[in-house]
Symmetry: C2
Subunit: 333 residues, 2 copies
C-alpha cells in the first residue's frame, strides 16, 4: 500500500494531497496512511507534510525498489516480475535458482548490494551498497545454446543506449561484453545458462553497472581500469544530480526486450549493427587466446551469431566465440 501512496504523490508531483483524500482513495484509516508515509520517509523519500494541506513528494532520491523500477516501465515481458533485495549473495545465483524453480520469463532480480558478486570466469565483482546496478534477467528463448552469444551483445547494446539516454554519456563496447567509458570499464555482463545439448532451458543475463562509486572507492589496482558513471561524469564536468538507477534500469530493460523480440524473429541485424557502431574492438589490434594458443591480430568484424572475426598476424582469420580478447590501448592492455 505504501507504494500506492507513492504512486499518487508522484502523479500529483506539484501538489499537496491531504491525508483524508489518501485514506478515501485507498479505503484505509488516516493512521494507516500516516504509517505508510513514515515508512516511505525511512526508505529515503523526502515528503513534506503541512497541516491542513497534506503531503507532497519533494524529491525522489536514487532509491531502488519494486515500485521505482516497475513504475512507468513500458515492457510486456521483461520486468513484469521484479524481485528487489537490499542485499543478496549474487543476483545471478538467485535468478538461476528462481529459473530452476520455474519463475516467469522476464523475471528481473535487482539488489542494492551483493555479498558475493561475480564477474566472468568466477572473478569477484565489487558491488557494495547503493554503488551501482546489480541485476539479472531470466529469459527462456527457444534457441540452441550456440545462439545465446547474440543476447550478450544485445545486453551490451541495451546498456549503451541507457547510458546515452539517461546520462548523455557515449559508451563503447569491448567484445563481447564489457562497457567502456573514457577507456575504463563501467559495466560487465555475465551470461549464464542451463542447457541440454540441443536447446536452452533458461538464460540468465547478469548486468553490473558502476554508478555511484567515487574514484577512491575502487581498490587501488582497479583505478586505471574501472570507473563509475558518476565519477566519469564528474571528471567531465557533467551534472550528476538527476541520475537515478531506476531510470537507467528501465531503459536497459526496454531496449533488452526490443532486441530480444528481434532475436526471437531471427532478426539479429539490428543488434549486430548497433553493436558494431559502438564497438571499441573492431578495427583495433587485439590479442586473443584461441584453443589455448595466443595470437595477435586485428579485429575485423562480428559474425551474425556474435563471433569476433580476427585477422591474425600468422595470416589466418579466426572466429572467436568466447574466451579472452585484449584490445590494445583499452583498460591497460
Amino acid at each position: 500500500m505504501k507504494y500506492e501512496i507513492l504512486r499518487i504523490l508522484k502523479e500529483k508531483s506539484m501538489e499537496y494531497v491531504s491525508g483524508e483524500r489518501l485514506s478515501e482513495i485507498l479505503g484505509v484509516s488516516r493512521t494507516a496512511v500516516w504509517k505508510c508515509i513514515n515508512e516511505l520517509k525511512k526508505e529515503g523519500y523526502v515528503i513534506e507534510s503541512v497541516s491542513k494541506k497534506g503531503y507532497k513528494l519533494e524529491t525522489s532520491p536514487d532509491i531502488l525498489n519494486e515500485f521505482e523500477i516497475g513504475h512507468g516501465l513500458n515492457t510486456s515481458i521483461i520486468g513484469r516480475q521484479i524481485h528487489y533485495f537490499k542485499s543478496i549473495d549474487s543476483t545471478n545465483n538467485y535468478a538461476k535458482k528462481a529459473a530452476q524453480e520455474g519463475c516467469e520469463e522476464g523475471t528481473v532480480i535487482v539488489a542494492d548490494a551483493q555479498t558475493s558478486g561475480r564477474g566472468r570466469l568466477g572473478r569477484s565483482w565489487e558491488s557494495k551498497e547503493d554503488s551501482g546496478i546489480w541485476m539479472s534477467v531470466v529469459l527462456r528463448p527457444y534457441i540452441a545454446p550456440e545462439d545465446v552469444q547474440i543476447m550478450t551483445l544485445a545486453a551490451s547494446v541495451a546498456v549503451v543506449a541507457a547510458l546515452k539516454s539517461v546520462a548523455g554519456v557515449d559508451a563503447g563496447i569491448k567484445w563481447p561484453n564489457d562497457i567502456i567509458i573514457g577507456g575504463r570499464k563501467v559495466c560487465g555482463i555475465l551470461t549464464e545458462m542451463s542447457t541440454e545439448m540441443d536447446r536452452v532451458n533458461y538464460l540468465v543475463l547478469g548486468i553490473g553497472i558502476n554508478i555511484n562509486q567515487k574514484k577512491e572507492d575502487f581498490p587501488e589496482e582497479l583505478r586505471n581500469t574501472a570507473i563509475s558513471l558518476k565519477a566519469y561524469m564528474a571528471e567531465n564536468n557533467m551534472s550528476v544530480a538527476n541520475i537515478k538507477r531506476s531510470d537507467i534500469i528501465k531503459i536497459v530493460l526496454l531496449e533488452l526486450e526490443k532486441q530480444y523480440e528481434n532475436m526471437k524473429r531471427r532478426n539479429t541485424e539490428e543488434i549486430i549493427n548497433k553493436w558494431r557502431e559502438n564497438s571499441v574492438t573492431i578495427g583495433r589490434k587485439v590479442k586473443i587466446i584461441y584453443k589455448n594458443v595466443e595470437y595477435e591480430g586485428t579485429a575485423k568484424d562480428v559474425t551474425d551469431d556474435g563471433k569476433l572475426i580476427v585477422h591474425c598476424s600468422d595470416g589466418v582469420t579466426r572466429e572467436i566465440s568466447s574466451g579472452e580478447v585484449s584490445v590494445r590501448g583499452i583498460m591497460g592492455n
Copy 2:
C-alpha cells in the same frame, strides 16, 4: 545402522550371524538389531532367522538404496555421494538443484521411480516404480561448453560396457546418445549443463535404462521402438535371474569415471574409439536436420569433440553437433 548389519550379513553370506554377535560388533542392544533386521526385511531382503543360530541373508533381490549402490563401488569421484529416492520428480531436476547449491562433484542421484521423468527436448520418459535405472551424475569439469558433447558419448560407452559385463548383451549406440538392443531403444541419456559463455559451471548426465519392464508395460505406440533389458533377454532365452540394477549402476559409474579421467587429460581417443566400435550410426544412411534443413546422407565418422560427420547427398560433408539424426532401419526409421 541397518546397512551396517546388511554389510556384515553380506560378507558372511554362507553363514549365520547371531544377534548377540551383531549387537556386540555394533555396540547396540539385541532389540535394536532385531528392529533393523525387520526394516531390512520390509525393504525386500530375504533374511532367514533361526533360533540359537542367528541371521542369514538368503538372497539380495534387485533393491536400490545407498548401500547397494555404494557397496563395492570402486570409484574415487563418481558415486562417493549417493542420494537415493523411492520416488522423485526427476533425478536430473534434483541433480541440477543440488549442483546449484554446491554439491560435491561426482554426486549421484538414483530413484526407483520418477513422477515426471524427461528425455531430450522436453519429451516425457516413462519411469515407473522399480522398472529401470533412473539416475543422474553431477560433474564439474574445467572445460568449455562446446567440449561437453564428448561426455555424452562417454556415458553411452559406459552403459554399453555395463550391459555387456552384467548381462552379456551387445548393445549399439545411435548417435549421439541412444543405446539400442535388437533395434530398439533400451537407454537414453539427457545431458544438461549450467554454463557461462566460456566455461561449464556444472554438468548433469542423466541416464535412464529400461531394465524390468515387460513388453506389455510399454505403451502400444512405443513397442516397436522401446525395449527393456530383461524383455530383450527373455526374447533371446537368456537367464535374467541374476540381473541386479545396482550391479549395472556400479559398472556404469566405474566406466564413466574412467572416461571422465581420460577426458580431463584431453585423451578423448579411447572414448571416440569405443564409441565408434559400438556405433549403429556410422556407415548407415541417415537423415539429418542441419540448421533447420533436412538432408539425407551417410554417417561417416565422429570428430574428436563428438560431432557426427555426414556425407550428404548434395555432395557437402556436414558436421552435426546436436539435433535430430534418424538412422534407416533403426527404431522404425
